[in-house]
Symmetry: C2
Amino acid sequence: MSEKTLSNSQRAVHELRERIFSGDLSAGSDHLESELANLLDMSRTPVREAVLTLESQGLLELRPRKGVRILPLSPDDMADIYDVLTELESHSAERAAEARYDEQDLAFLAKAIDDMDKAIAASDLDAWAEADDRFHAELVRLGRNSRIAGIVGMMSDQVRRARMTTLFMRPLPTKSNEDHRQVYDAIRDGDGYQARETHRAHRQHAKSIIVELLQRHRLKFL
Amino acid sequence: MSEKTLSNSQRAVHELRERIFSGDLSAGSDHLESELANLLDMSRTPVREAVLTLESQGLLELRPRKGVRILPLSPDDMADIYDVLTELESHSAERAAEARYDEQDLAFLAKAIDDMDKAIAASDLDAWAEADDRFHAELVRLGRNSRIAGIVGMMSDQVRRARMTTLFMRPLPTKSNEDHRQVYDAIRDGDGYQARETHRAHRQHAKSIIVELLQRHRLKFL
DNA sequence: GCATTTATTTGCGTATGCATTAAATAATTC
DNA sequence: GAATTATTTAATGCATACGCAAATAAATGC
């Protein structure tokens, strides 16, 4: 799983992502290739390659002569992203239900739900977020469409970026896990329609919460 | 629209795409970076950058020391791609309907439908395919979600690749345009649900036709 | 002959330098 | 003083070179 030798190019992708998520490289800021190269202690070549990769993942934008700009996320962007997640994840839920997985196949999903319960009980928001990510990633995996998995992964990254800010601005997501259980039950029961529609409603609800939160707090970006 | 000066890197992206779509670089084939550089008459640096871009668009795969592999598309891949298109396009159709566009806003869409009619009347499959592309691209544009537009664009590229083969293997898509008109009407009438479901059915039908065709002809790739 | 080790080749990852060209600044004209 | 033009600056795009590791060929041992 973990490679001993990681190429500088790959390391640059990872490190830059980290720094973007952590806010070290803040949304809207511009950075020269040489500056980033210096930061990561390597030459421009691998950072350039990393930057191209991250650009096609929608995390930043290349503006020749003005540096690479870390893309800010507006509330509208967030709404767009949630719409993509809603459509593709609920499709995955439907597919997962149709696949007639047994409870063992769904163990990971169940574990994630349990972990969310525990996290909520302990008021541990970070643990909750981590388990929530796991739930959604596993759901998509069960949907067995690698392209959907890839797209959802990218979009989830963006959401994660914004969640860092919003997570502590709202009440504990206690009700959210009821939705998750409903989706789980529908998948276990092989009810594709139910799985799909329940998950859709879940995501749309999450979307409205986040977007309203961002707008209410006048957060124009990140 | 057309830049006078196109960087070698951009040119490499375009030319490689062309050659992949045209089959000049055939699915499953491997090519060394230096070979491609030679082919495009430039150094390895810009082709490497282009190749990274194309990799993240899912057209090829980088396999160190074995060359870049033009990714073959199996019938299963095609099914996955159509599922993504189905979900995201029907969402776009719903959004377009909710946006209450007037007939002028929808002129492009209407034009594409008309052009498809004409192409079918003239049995001009290439013209039909071109107009069909235009219809779907415009639909997604009207949905006003740039991320969806981007994803659909990428996936459509892949479909286009396969359609080159399948287009001439099946009867004229005479009925297809009835679907398009229904979607158009629903959007004009502001009926989001109808637009969504009609388009969904349309895409799912197209998917089953293509996938069956590929399987029947034992086409394992491209 | 087969397997294992050693030698050789070759493609890739990365650093580096240079030419290009866009942006920024200074200079000149009206 | 404003606006246009000339000059400077500097970031990028690209070619090139080189070392390393992987793949292949050769050689040695059994």
